[in-house]
Structures are given as structure tokens and as C-alpha cells.
């Protein structure tokens, strides 16, 4: 952790000096996560634009970065904020059309398969933006609740409760695509 912080500090210092190699290194270090988050929050069509905007903000904002949080947390926060702002500007929630969801082939009742992954990606696109953000950060990117809370600027408890609701909404959207379909108990029979 300390080594990572020292590395980050060196990288930040080099970027502030305008060293092209350091800037490229930082870009390559974070490009997949930044692009992946942007892609899954705003959708494929706008993901490149949002990712570009994030990196421009990162490089232009490094001079003012005070190190109150980890560099990664700061960059992911910029990413989520840029993505959510983009959605707000666009004026509508990004939606993968219902057609995308229903036209996918029904998954077989056996092992995980790529079709289920596609349906999950599609369902993710239909979630409200806030739920999408927490699912992408915690479940897709594997960040801890503490990191998610720092990125989303909320309490850890709020983060957990949002994740719970987001997963419940995802299960609703995916319907019978999940679980052991052979052993499924009828819904609504719970005590």
C-alpha cells in the first residue's frame, strides 16, 4: 500500500511536470477501468467520449489533486461523476432497448454462458443510473464498500443498502435467466 502510494506520488509529480511518458503510463494504468465504468454506465455509444473527458479532467486536475484520497479513488470518482453528468445532460436514462433483452437467446439451464453475460449487460443498461454505478463499482470492478462510498460520496451503510436494492432490481429484470431453473420454487410462496 505504502509502495503504491509512493509510486502514485512519483507518477503524479512526473505528470505535473508534464512528462509525456508518465502521462502515458498513468493512462495505461487506468484506461481499462475508466473505459469499462464509462461503457457500463453510459452505454457503448458515448463511452469513448466520456472516457476521454475523464482523462482530460485527470491530467488538467492533477495540479490541484491534494492526495486526500488514493489516486485511483479520485480517478474513479471523476469517472462516475462524468458518466452520471453525461447521462443527466443527455436528458434520459441510457436504456438498452427491450428488444436487446428479449431477442437474446434463452440461456440453457446448465453452466454460466456468454448469453447470460449479454443479458446481464443488457439488464445493467436498464437500471437507474445510481444502481448501475454501485453495481459496476462493487460487483463488476470489485471495489470494497469503503472505496465505493468514497467514490460515490456517501456512507458505507448507504452503499450497502443501494447495492442490495440494485441486485434485487437486476434479479427482477433478469427474471428466469438466473438460478437453478430446474429447482426453482414458485415466487410468492415465501413466508
Amino acid at each position: 500500500m505504502a509502495a503504491a502510494l509512493a509510486d502514485d506520488a512519483q507518477l503524479i509529480a512526473a505528470c505535473r511536470r508534464g512528462e509525456a511518458r508518465a502521462m502515458e503510463m498513468l493512462y495505461h494504468q487506468y484506461k481499462r477501468r475508466v473505459f469499462g465504468m464509462a461503457h457500463r454506465i453510459v452505454g457503448a455509444s458515448d463511452s469513448e467520449e466520456v472516457a476521454q473527458e475523464v482523462f482530460v479532467r485527470v491530467f488538467r486536475g492533477l495540479a490541484a489533486f491534494r492526495g486526500d484520497s488514493a489516486l485511483s479513488t479520485w480517478i474513479y470518482r471523476l469517472t462516475v461523476n462524468a458518466a452520471l453528468s453525461h447521462l443527466a445532460r443527455r436528458g434520459r436514462r441510457h436504456e438498452v432497448g427491450d428488444d436487446d433483452l428479449t431477442e437474446l437467446p434463452a440461456p440453457p439451464a446448465t453452466e454460466r454462458d456468454s448469453a447470460l453475460a449479454s443479458r446481464i449487460e443488457a439488464a445493467l443498461g436498464r437500471l437507474p443510473a445510481g444502481y448501475r454505478a454501485i453495481l459496476v463499482l462493487h460487483d463488476v470492478e470489485g471495489l470494497s464498500h469503503e472505496e465505493c462510498a468514497a467514490i460515490l460520496d456517501c456512507r458505507v451503510g448507504t452503499c450497502k443498502s443501494q447495492l442490495h436494492k440494485a441486485r434485487a432490481r437486476m434479479r427482477e429484470l433478469l427474471g428466469d435467466s438466473l438460478g437453478d431453473r430446474g429447482a426453482r420454487a414458485p415466487r410468492g410462496t415465501e413466508t
Binding site: 481499462r32 469513448e48 453475460a117 446481464i120 460487483d139 447495492l163 438466473l178 437453478d180 415465501e190 413466508t191
Partner: protein
């Protein structure tokens, strides 16, 4: 544990966020409840599938796009006038400077207000509302050139007319403040005139005429002044003049070896 309790805890249970006892309770319930077990299976599968989603590689042109936008922003910044560049450089720190500036401005304002108010008779520190009336009114001394060596006039007892009764409520009381202060000045001036009666008898006719003219002019200025600060200022001029006259007489008395 009910199904609702279990489902509320499922996310935390599957993510390993429950303590040992909480985990055991959920586990026991899941063993006996097929419906909740199904929900847990679905959520676990969803979580695993989300974690297994492929890492997305950005298009190769992304870095070139970032560099192009950075270059464009740099060129735009270079074209801006120097003061806008300086402003942009300081903008991130503005909130902190603004907070500090506000505190400093509040402190300076408080100090100015206190100093300014303390310079007015009867309004200095310790004479504010609630501190009770002072037994003796300290007279402000502004010596004229001929009375620089004056030991200062004797304190004048606070006239009873200074004690204007307070209004029933705070707003009305504040509205009475100007009148109260003007009344206090008038009473002080009257007390000083009374003090001057005895020494006045010793003055020459010319001295008395000069005194009366100046006193009348100052009183007219009081009458002509607007209510509030201008009138208070005019009253202070009257009081200063009367104090000067009284002090001059005391100096004369001291110089001649007599009692003031």
C-alpha cells in the same frame, strides 16, 4: 428469522459482511427455506456473473483523442489574457481563501464596530444593555490648545433625564435608542451649563458674549442636524465646547492659586 429478515441480510451474507452470529442465522434459515435459498442462489449467480464480465479494452484511438483534447485546451489557455490564466490557476483554492476572507472580514467588522461604538459616550464596553447604569458619566475631553495642561474636568453626575425608560419589547427599544442618546447628550449639556453658571459670573462681558454666540451656534447645529448619527455628532460638539469652557476656567483658577 423470517424470510424478510433473511433477504434483507442476503447481500451482506453473500459478500461476507455479516458477523459470525448473523451469518449462522441466515445459513440456518436458508437450509430450511427453499424460496430464500432460491433467491440466494440467484443473487450469488448474479454477483458471480457481474464479476466475470469481460474487461473492456478501450479503442486504440482513445489516447490520441485525449492528447488532442489536452493540446487544444492548452492552446486555448495560452490564448487567454494573463489575468484569466492567473484566475484559473487560483480558482481551485478560492473556496479556502473565501472562507478565510469571510472570517477576517467578520473580525475586522466586529473590531471596527466595537471601536466606533466605544468612542461614543455611554456606549463603550461595559455600558451595553444589561450591564446596568453607570453611577458616573465619564466626560470626553478634547482639550483646546490653551487647555492642553488641563488635569481634566471633574466627572459630571449622570443626569436623571438620561434614564429613558426601556420599551416593552426589543424592537421598540431599539427604535428608542436614538432618542435616548440625544436625551442623554442634552442632559449632559444642561448639567455642564449649570456647572458653568458660577465661573461665568467671573468672565468679562466680551467673554460671555463670545461664549453665548458659540453656544447658540452649536445648539442651532444640533437642531438642524438629522436625527441619528448627525445629531449625536452635533451634540458631542456642544458637550466638548462646554467641557472646554469649564476646563479653561479650572486652569485659570489653578494658575491663580485658587481652588477650581
Amino acid at each position: 428469522m423470517t424470510c424478510d429478515d433473511t433477504r434483507r441480510r442476503l447481500t451482506a451474507y453473500l459478500d461476507g459482511d455479516l458477523d459470525a452470529d448473523g451469518g449462522t442465522l441466515v445459513r440456518v434459515h436458508l437450509r430450511g427455506c427453499a424460496a430464500c435459498r432460491q433467491v440466494a442462489t440467484e443473487e450469488a449467480e448474479l454477483r458471480d456473473e457481474l464479476r466475470a464480465l469481460p474487461v473492456l479494452d478501450p479503442p486504440p484511438a482513445l489516447w490520441a483523442g485525449v492528447q488532442a483534447r489536452l493540446a487544444a485546451a492548452e492552446e486555448a489557455a495560452a490564448r487567454r489574457p494573463w489575468w484569466r490564466r492567473a484566475l484559473a490557476r487560483w480558482t481551485p483554492a478560492l473556496p479556502r481563501f473565501a472562507a478565510g476572507g469571510l472570517v477576517a472580514a467578520a473580525a475586522v467588522t466586529a473590531l471596527w464596530w466595537r471601536t466606533h461604538r466605544a468612542g461614543e459616550p455611554g456606549i463603550g464596553p461595559g455600558t451595553g444593555p444589561g450591564t446596568g447604569p453607570e453611577p458616573v458619566l465619564e466626560v470626553i475631553v478634547h482639550p483646546t490648545p490653551e487647555i492642553k495642561a488641563s488635569p481634566g474636568p471633574a466627572p459630571v453626575a449622570r443626569p436623571a433625564s438620561c434614564e429613558i425608560p426601556e420599551a416593552a419589547d426589543a424592537t421598540a427599544d431599539l427604535a428608542l435608542d436614538d432618542a435616548r442618546r440625544s436625551g442623554c447628550y442634552a442632559a449632559t449639556a444642561a448639567a455642564l451649563v449649570a456647572e458653568l453658571e458660577a465661573p461665568r459670573a467671573e468672565w468679562t462681558a466680551d467673554q460671555r458674549a463670545a461664549f453665548d454666540d458659540q453656544h447658540a451656534a452649536l445648539r442651532q447645529a444640533v437642531a438642524a442636524a438629522r436625527e441619528g448619527r448627525p445629531r449625536h455628532r452635533a451634540w458631542r460638539a456642544v458637550v466638548r465646547y462646554l467641557q472646554g469652557a469649564l476646563a479653561r476656567d479650572e486652569v485659570v483658577a489653578l494658575a491663580s492659586g485658587g481652588a477650581p
